[in-house]
């Protein structure tokens, strides 16, 4: 439930409106629910609305934690798989 994705604000285009970038695609979204979102900031987008923001410091912390977890659990032996430059 509640498909939402982080996207970077790249332009403020009107009252309550911003353009966000998400992996190279751009979409105009409503920022009525995060009115003080700033350019460069990451927001979480759901059904065309930014519903929250991402805390950069916390994100870095989580990333580090994931690194640990991955090491711990040896989740997948990806080294045996063929990958390409754009493998998702």
């Amino acid at each position: 439930m509640c498909l939402a994705i982080p996207a970077r604000v790249i332009a403020l285009t009107g009252p309550d409106e911003a353009v966000v970038d998400l992996g190279g695609i751009r979409k105009t979204v409503s920022i009525a629910l995060v009115p003080d979102a700033a350019i460069g900031e990451y927001v979480i987008v759901h059904v065309g609305h930014a519903i929250g923001r991402i805390d950069a410091a916390e994100a870095a912390r989580t990333l580090a934690l994931f690194g640990e977890l991955a090491a711990q659990a040896a989740l997948a032996d990806t080294s045996t798989m063929e990958t390409t430059t754009w493998a998702r």
Partner: protein, 363 residues
């Protein structure tokens, strides 16, 4: 992990169900950890009667009914669904955002346009924005059929029924708390029941690693005998949530006394309705609609599955009569429904991969 101990965790949220299925996470967990799929797919919990209302609006009242793609295939009464009602001439349009429904209303001034609004606290604020904008624009042909539901009420209900009768609900050891719902409501609303029912809750993001991490945190709480609300998703979820969104929702909506959930029955204070101040935009007041509860198909085990008591494979018609192509129960509709997720992603478990001896080449 404590040897011999079993850990039963419910992921409330369909997004977590999806992540678990799509990335094959269940396979990666230790056998002692069992994940129970909760009622957190808004499509799955939508009762037949509410979809019947939306179909009525399109077929009997000639309204343009706008809805998110997720609801299109949900089975309704008389073998219908919104997809099939559309094929029968209903003007039913899939939208990506509530604001698209507003645009359609502006473009069709001589038609009634109804937004069939579903979803949890994540999806409610965008509907509130649409209602606020419709009022500001003075639109007279736009209304909302509100089916927004509330997460804490549903979790409380599950815990209450688990408490009330052993066996009718699963013995739970903790919850993976919703990711995006929590962005809006914050982590505080989980605290009362974590305390009251002594249930650990860990709010988790939707990346597979988020889920793995949250499960690890739940195991630690159980092992430590703690029952706290922890937040794995700190990068987006705060204790208070999104105050702007909460205020707007509060302006436009107010709780219903009770609301029917598929599989859970009537759950008190578990949904929102449009405030009297916005009555002109409330499809339930604007059109002569009467809500008729419709019993689920008798064979369907969606109820127990949503309550965490049964698993998809416990349903006699899973994968035979009830398939994603011909869903009988709601859990088979959305790919995040517990049954659909198991059908699409989980069926391999009984089938080991076999390659003929002759074929030794790489893959």
């Amino acid at each position: 992990m404590q040897p011999g101990r079993r850990y039963n965790f419910m992921e409330f949220c369909g997004g977590h169900t999806h992540a678990i299925s799509r990335y094959g996470i269940a396979e990666l967990l230790p056998p002692a950890v069992r994940m129970i799929h909760g009622p957190g797919c808004p499509v799955c919990v939508l009762p037949i009667g509410r979809i019947d209302l939306a179909i009525q609006l399109a077929l009997q009242h000639g309204a343009i009914v706008c809805t998110y793609g997720d609801t299109m295939r949900v089975p309704a009464s008389h073998g219908l669904s919104l997809t099939k009602a559309k094929a029968r001439g209903g003007d039913i349009r899939m939208v990506y955002a509530a604001t698209d429904a507003l645009r359609i209303a502006r473009e069709n001034p001589d038609r009634e346009v109804v937004f069939f609004a579903i979803g949890f606290e994540t999806t409610t604020p965008p509907t509130a924005v649409a209602l606020r904008d419709a009022e500001r624009a003075g639109l007279t042909n736009f209304s909302v059929l509100c089916c927004h539901v509330l997460t804490p009420a549903a979790i409380t209900h599950i815990l209450a029924s688990a408490d009330a009768s052993e066996g009718s609900a699963a013995p739970l050891d903790g919850f993976v708390g919703p990711a995006h719902v929590s962005i809006v409501i914050g982590s505080a609303p989980y605290e009362p029941f974590a305390r009251a029912w002594r249930q650990p809750v860990v709010i988790a993001g939707f990346e597979p690693l988020d889920v793995m991490q949250a499960i690890l945190m739940l195991v630690r709480q159980v092992n430590d005998g703690r029952a706290e609300v922890e937040n794995e998703f700190t990068r987006a979820v705060s204790r208070d949530g999104n105050r702007t969104a909460q205020a707007l929702v509060d302006d436009v909506f107010m709780p219903r006394d009770s609301f029917e959930w598929r599989g859970l029955g009537e759950v008190p204070h578990s949904a929102l309705q449009i405030r009297p101040g916005f009555a002109a935009f409330d499809a339930e007041r604007k059109f002569p609609l009467t809500y008729t509860p419709v019993a689920d198909n008798k064979a369907c085990e969606c109820g127990p599955i949503l309550r965490g008591v049964k698993q998809p494979t416990d349903c006699k018609i899973f994968g035979t009569v009830c398939t994603p192509e011909n869903p009988v129960g709601a859990c088979m509709v959305s790919s995040e429904g517990a049954c659909a997720a198991h059908y699409a992603y989980g069926r391999f478990r009984d089938i080991p991969i076999r390659v003929e001896a002759a074929a030794g080449a790489a893959a």
